[in-house]
């Protein structure tokens, strides 16, 4: 469904964020991308929808090659890739509904979006999604009035209303408490299952990732160090990804309270 071939990103400063990454994600698979800060996780998912331009290599979404697309064609392909952000990235001065509907911008014309006259089917779908995440009653609140967990749920609605085939999820739980983190991860994984979506989830919290995903890829210095099922993450593997540390507490099934400490 998604295939990366020798994807390289070298920043202008000379930092090699990605070194020839090869990866394939089949339809409907939820994958966690782990690795230390600066390993290139964020760069990797931003190179897929070209918020960051890759230096070389290819990205195939289905049959379409993304890196060579013109800006118009890229916009059309971006509709098939929903993105969920660290710190939510909602437009804070817009209402919850406007934020959700902004996921339809790739489908509606400028004047419709400017006048907020979205097709009824889009509005209905927005309410259905908001109801699915228990936020239908908040539709007309401004985004900056919501709590962190609520904001991230709006972010999830915004990504899903695009009707994507793939979710790119960047640190969805980075600024949430342990309980909300679990709820958000569970919600993302459930929704992926319901809709048969593939997802790449960047995540720092190894224990949380192990709980929910089917596959884990470990990135270190922009190269893949590990690729396998979550229960194959042994202390040795974590040491090759992150460096020397006592990993026992991280891999054990942990209580809610311990999750943050396990980071």
């Amino acid at each position: 469904m998604l295939r990366l071939e020798k994807l390289v990103k070298t920043y202008k400063t000379g930092d090699q964020a990605l070194q020839a990454v090869d990866m394939e994600i089949p339809e409907g698979q939820v994958m966690a991308l782990i690795g230390p800060s600066g390993a290139g996780k964020s760069t990797l998912i931003r190179c897929i929808n070209r918020l960051v331009e890759p230096t070389s290599g290819n990205v195939y979404l289905g049959e379409t090659e993304l890196t060579g697309l013109s800006s118009g064609a890229l916009r059309r392909e971006r509709r098939r890739m929903g993105m969920i952000f660290q710190e939510y990235a909602l437009v804070e001065r817009l209402t919850v509904m406007e934020n959700v509907l902004s996921g339809r911008l790739g489908y509606v014309g400028f004047w419709r979006s400017f006048l907020r006259k979205y097709p009824q089917s889009d509005v209905d779908e927005a309410f259905r999604l908001l109801d699915r995440v228990d936020l239908a009653h908040m539709a007309d609140k401004r985004a900056d009035e919501l709590s962190g967990g609520q904001r991230q749920r709006v972010g999830i609605c915004r990504a899903l209303i695009q009707n994507p085939a793939l979710l790119l999820v960047d640190e969805p739980t980075a600024s949430l408490d342990p309980k909300t983190s679990r709820q958000i991860m569970r919600l993302i994984c459930e929704l992926c299952k319901e809709r048969g979506l593939a997802a790449i989830i960047n995540i720092h919290d190894v224990a949380l990732a192990q709980m929910f995903v089917q596959r884990v890829v470990g990135l270190r210095f922009g190269a893949i160090e590990f690729d396998g099922p979550p229960d194959a993450l042994t202390p040795d593997v974590l040491t090759t990804i992150y460096g020397e540390e006592d990993w026992e507490a991280t891999i054990e099934k942990v209580d809610d309270d311990d999750i943050e400490a396990a980071e």
Partner: protein, 273 residues
């Protein structure tokens, strides 16, 4: 470990001071003494003609006393016409100026516009800011003749330099991720501006527009002095005729209107935040 322990021992028990901005002491003292010497020398060059000041004091007193008995009635139709002209000039120039400023501000924000457009828009802003209002007004009065048209054009032109620059700076300092999220949904450029950028800069745009309206009104009183119409022309005439009571009435009206605008902009800014 032991090396740092001995280093620590040399530090313990000594007072700590913030490192000076200029490290070399002789340079620091030289600059300070030079500044003081310059200040004294500068004051010594000011020549005051005390007998002239004494004469002027009576005229100044007449001027200040006129504020106790402002004359709104004698020239009321002139004041009314001038005021109306100023207000029309101000509102028209603000609307046109702001309308032109917004696209230029977008072009002058490096995170929104490509380099060639950025350079052109920054160039326009630099020209507008380099030319002082009075100079532009004198030029435009020479071209279009006396009257409010020259004033209107001057204020519109000045608004562009002011508003575009400050709005562009606000766009440049916006939260990049919010805009990125809109881009990731496949939005077109205009949609991206409308959803990702506009909500972030709207309070600043409204605040700056209100402030500029206020400035334009005050400027319109000055522009009359060089023949560009408005209440300034009436004010100038009053001064020329030594009608300080009428001049005082005009100044009081200007102050009241500026204060009303200030109050209004406070309310509006509190609402849009």
């Amino acid at each position: 470990m032991s090396a740092s322990t001995t280093e620590l021992e040399t530090l313990i028990g000594k007072p700590w001071k913030k490192p000076p901005f200029i490290k070399r002491p002789w340079l620091r003292w030289l600059l300070a003494l030079g500044f003081v010497a310059y200040l004294i020398a500068a004051f010594l060059t000011i020549e005051v003609n005390w007998s002239r000041v004494y004469e002027g004091l009576t005229r100044g007193k007449a001027f200040v006393l006129a504020f106790t008995s402002p004359d709104f009635t004698t020239r009321s139709s002139d004041i009314y016409d001038g005021m109306l002209e100023s207000i029309i000039m101000t509102v028209a120039a603000s609307v046109v100026g702001i309308g032109i400023s917004i696209p230029i501000a977008l072009g002058a924000a490096r995170n929104v516009a490509p380099l060639p457009i950025y350079l052109v828009c920054r160039g326009i802003i630099a020209v507008s800011r380099a030319l002082q209002e009075i100079i532009v007004a004198i030029l435009l009065v020479a071209i279009f003749g006396f009257g409010p048209l020259a004033g209107f054009l001057t204020l519109s032109f000045a608004t562009i330099g002011f508003l575009s620059k400050l709005l562009a700076e606000d766009i440049e300092s916006m939260d990049r991720v919010q805009a990125e999220a809109i881009k990731a949904s496949g939005a077109k450029w205009l949609q991206w501006i409308n959803y990702g950028v506009q909500p972030q800069v709207m309070p600043r745009l409204i605040g700056l527009s209100m402030y500029r309206l206020d400035i334009n009104f005050r400027e319109s009183a000055i522009l009359g002095l060089v023949g560009a119409g408005g209440i300034g022309a009436t004010l100038n005439t009053a001064f020329d005729r030594y009608e300080y009571d009428t001049a005082a009435a005009i100044l009081i009206l200007i102050i009241v209107i500026v204060m009303a605008l200030e109050y209004l902009s406070g309310i509006i800014r509190a609402r849009v935040q």
